[in-house]
């Protein structure tokens, strides 16, 4: 880490001393804006670690005669900082493409800058329904909730579940979780008996759970990240609710099981990434990750790993004539990119199309449901 920071500074200094040397420069530079401090730093740190793994592997592989450099900037999940960083990246003529940010709100604020300046922005997680529609420069490789919701809806109907309560966090993402699920589920004849949003970081879910039980649903569909998920599941068990819980890929993280213990047993969710999958690239990533981490990587680091690799493969495609324009076109052409979260293609809006896996927690592990 120390070394990369020092090199990053060195590069920044060099860039400042030699302005407008975009093509003469040796390295290809990619910007990555992500929260490295603040409330969401845990996600940003994971992204950075995953990106480092991808980058080290890429530079060692010799796919390009010149090395690629990623410049990380800390946005604290604050739109103010996100926009400033975006301007900073745009200024650096050496930077040809940008990854990030983590939250949709920061990504969207920064996107206004990238749209104006014409720089490709690939977010690993921004799930706001309008993000990719901002301009032709925005891409993301996280599954949209329209897709995930309809898979879950069908799955529940197949299990004979007709009455569902829906609970999601009060963020743009949570809103899209509810919308993405409710529409296909009701269209297929299901009934939504209770819809509730909660503020992220809510400590006590029990009033909600009690109310939920009172509505006697067959199952609960939830939109939460693993931390809120852990709390919710623990308190479900505490109140002995006994209602099956379905969730999205955002809850997919070993930390969820660590935090909730037994209470996580029997959680159903859709995922695009399973560290237990035997595919070579998955195992390679998990192996590298495990060298520095106790737990296996969750959904989000895998998203970041893929985002970096998609960006890098676009760099290879655009080389040697790498401009912001050519990199964007190369990104847009991405089809069936074989990542650890499955194959990714971008549609004309820059939305990814992915395959989803069904999983559940059993004996303290995520296992694939056939």
């Amino acid at each position: 880490m120390k070394l990369t920071r020092r090199t990053a500074i060195a590069i920044a200094v060099t860039a400042a001393l030699t302005p407008a040397a975009a093509f003469a420069e040796e390295t290809v530079k990619i910007g990555y804006q992500l929260p490295l401090t603040g409330n969401t730093a845990q996600y940003g740190q994971d992204f950075k670690d995953a990106a480092e793994i991808a980058l080290t592997k890429f530079n060692a592989s010799g796919a390009l005669p010149v090395p690629v450099e990623i410049i990380y900037e800390d946005s604290r999940s604050d739109a103010k900082e996100g926009v400033t960083i975006a301007r900073k990246f745009v200024d650096d003529d050496g930077i040809v493409g940008v990854l990030g940010d983590f939250t949709s709100t920061v990504s969207m604020a920064a996107a206004q800058v990238y749209k104006k300046a014409g720089m490709a922005q690939l977010s690993q997680t921004a799930s706001h329904p309008d993000f990719a529609k901002i301009s032709k420069w925005q891409f993301r490789n996280i599954t949209t909730q329209d897709q995930e919701g309809s898979v879950n809806a069908q799955w529940m109907l197949d299990q004979g579940i007709k009455k569902v309560a829906v609970i999601a966090e009060q963020t743009d993402w949570g809103q899209s979780v509810v919308k993405g699920f409710v529409e296909p589920f009701e269209a297929a004849g299901g009934e939504i008996v209770y819809t509730e949003f909660f503020n992220r970081g809510l400590a006590d879910f029990r009033p909600i759970i009690t109310k939920l039980e009172n509505n006697t649903p067959d199952a609960v569909y939830t939109g939460f990240f693993y931390e809120d998920g852990g709390q919710f599941l623990k308190q479900m068990k505490q109140l002995d609710a006994g209602i099956p819980v379905y969730s999205t890929s955002a809850a997919y993280n070993d930390k969820l099981i660590e935090l909730a213990g037994d209470a996580s047993e029997g959680l159903f969710l859709t995922a695009t990434f399973l560290p237990t999958r035997m595919d070579a690239n998955v195992q390679e990533f998990v192996g590298e990750w495990s060298k520095t981490h106790d737990a296996a990587p969750g959904q989000f680091p895998a998203q970041a790993y893929d985002a970096v690799n998609i960006m890098l493969s676009a760099v290879v495609k655009a080389y040697p004539e790498i401009t912001r324009e050519s990199l964007r076109d190369a990104l847009a052409e991405t089809t069936d990119f074989p990542g650890v979260t499955g194959n990714t293609s971008f549609d004309e809006n820059g939305e990814p199309l992915k395959e989803l896996t069904k999983a559940s927690v059993s004996n303290g592990m995520f296992v694939e449901v056939q």
Partner: protein, 332 residues
Amino acid sequence: MSKSRLIKTGLVLAAFAVVPAVLVGFDKGYYYQIATLAAIFMLLAASLHLVTGVAGLLQLGHAAFYGVGAYVAAILGADHGVGFTVGLPLAGLSAAAIAFLVALPTMRLMSIYFAVATLAIGQMLYLVFLNWVDLTNGPNGVMLFSGINLFGIEIESDLGIYYVVAAVVAVSILVLNRLSHSYYGNALRSLREDDQCASAMGINVTVMKIQAFVISSFFAGIAGALWAYTTGYISPNDFHFSQSILILTMVVVGGLGSLPGVLIGALLLILLPEALRSVGDIRNIIVGLVMFGSILFLPKGLFGEVSALNFARRLLGANWSNDEGQKGIGWK
């Protein structure tokens, strides 16, 4: 007189010639962004200064009024096609109107009680931004496609945007300066020092406090509108309690009651985290340490009130003139 004019011209030159020249020289969007952001936060700090520094009312919900302005500007622009020239004053007026409504019942509260009430109001407005989905689009935020349109001319260049923001901020700060360094400002200061005494001297305490609060919120609303127009996308997180604290910190670090100090404080707290970007994760600890150090070693702020008052008097050429009879006897 000539000296004060020199300082005044110097400041205007700095804002409208030196800074833009430097910006053009570097030609980096990053510097434009920081300059714009610093200008917006200078206005926020200056507006909080009127109510907290001069009138002595600890206001912990300033970011919410900043948010009201931003939301009004963004929603009017996005849904009703209202442009910059109309949206900007409307944003300020809406923030002022809401401030007036909440000020009516809370203004008789004393010091810490008032602070707590503003904290509650700030949090309630934040909850409204976040949860009243039909009005504010909730956590999805509002995207504003129209930029700054000045009487039919679309201003797109970074330099143009800087000039517009700088002009609005400069005029606003000029107004705030005149307000706080005048007989009116002195009347507010007397409320801060001893409101019973001020009341005995014939100052209508409650009305004055409400005025200060409303004026301050008006300019916070203007700052919010500037943020909305320059960023093009706003969401509730931009107006969280932590932003109120950030603005309050600027006021305290700069010096309670001193407008130049407050402006320096705002500049410092915007520039410092940026300058420290390269030190990485510990930069926010350093910001905390700077804040602590400045309170400990500069209890009057970077530019204390007494020196600020002297400075302002020289600048405005408004030395106290007891000999002119009526003029010396305080605010009407």
